[in-house]
């Protein structure tokens, strides 16, 4: 199954949760936020949010900005 993570197509196992994808980045979870298909998913729901094919996932964190 493929999902689009931060703009890049990424293969994930069927039934993968958002939590798995976030953890896969290897940067922990603190200071992160995520959206699936342009809807916010609170961190408390990441492990219960099962992704489906072609989901658009945005995983975001702090960057310098004015």
């Amino acid at each position: 199954m493929n999902v689009v993570v931060n703009g890049e197509s990424t293969g994930v196992v069927l039934g993968a949760t958002l939590g798995v994808v976030v953890d896969g980045l290897g940067r922990g979870r603190r200071g992160f936020a995520a959206a699936v298909n342009e809807e916010v998913v609170p961190a408390s729901c990441w492990d219960t949010t099962v992704l489906t094919d072609d989901d658009r996932v945005e995983i975001l964190t702090a960057a310098q900005g004015g």
């Binding site: 936020a33 975001l60 004015g66």
Partner: protein, 247 residues
């Protein structure tokens, strides 16, 4: 202080400390798996409060979503709301801005709205329930200072919420002027982070804000067309035998 534009996290940390700021803005961007160092660690270490922004959003919808994501990421209701109209001027789009502000205020955010220097738009933002209005002095990063002090003064005159001058500051005297016009604070990013010596410019800004704040409250002398002596002529000696007088 804004955190954009710094060449390194070390330079940023030094500037933040020198500025004495209580608040630092951050943007929300895709996780960069290759990046070293953590901006959040720096900000935590310095002890500033986070103010996430919605930089780069062109529509109310994008800005609202960004604000909601920021709330999740940083656990704060504060949001610096930016909704810009184009890529060249980076000026706020008042319609999308007001739309987003209304949605976010209803959603419980403390909205600090980056706006142009139009007094009517600023008043509308305040009436919608924004926590602060942040009029620009001139376009972001232009360093042109406060192009229209008259408008900033009009905004302050009718403000029911704090006014924070945002964008356009190039140097310390610009920041002092903002405070003299009655602003409650000043937000600077590029002026500090892109200066040749960011920490020193940050210190300059700290002094400038103090200076302008005290000057505002000290009651300045009026502007006069002609001169007014600071040294009285009374008691002036007569040191010429011929009285020359003034022409």
């Amino acid at each position: 202080m804004g955190t954009g534009g710094a060449t390194s996290l070390d330079a940023l940390e030094a500037a933040l400390r020198a500025s004495g700021t209580a608040v630092a803005t951050v943007a929300l961007r895709r996780v960069d798996v290759d990046s070293r160092g953590s901006l959040l660690d720096v900000l935590t270490r310095v002890g500033v409060r986070l103010l996430p922004n919605t930089a780069g959003c062109f529509t109310a919808r994008e800005a609202v979503l960004t604000a909601q994501l920021a709330r999740e990421a940083f656990n704060t209701d504060w949001i610096k709301l930016e909704v810009i109209g184009d890529d060249v001027t980076l000026l706020p789009d008042p319609v999308e801005l007001l739309d987003a502000a209304e949605t976010l205020v209803d959603d419980g955010f403390a909205v600090l709205a980056y706006t142009n220097d139009d007094p009517v738009t600023a008043r509308r933002l305040a009436q919608l329930g924004c926590a602060a209005v942040m009029p620009l002095g001139s376009p972001i990063g232009s360093g042109l200072g406060i192009r229209n002090p008259h408008n900033i003064a009009l905004i302050v005159e009718q403000a029911s919420v704090p006014v924070v001058l945002d964008a356009g500051i190039g140097t310390a005297s610009d920041a002092a002027l903002a405070m003299e016009l009655g602003c409650d604070a000043v937000l600077v990013a590029s002026a500090v982070t892109r200066a040749q010596d960011p920490a020193r410019m940050a210190a300059a800004m700290r002094h400038a804000v103090e200076a302008g704040y005290h000057a505002r409250h000290a009651g300045r002398i009026p502007r006069r067309w002609h001169a007014v002596r600071s040294t009285p002529q009374q008691g002036a000696p007569k040191l010429t035998t011929i009285d020359l007088g003034a022409p």
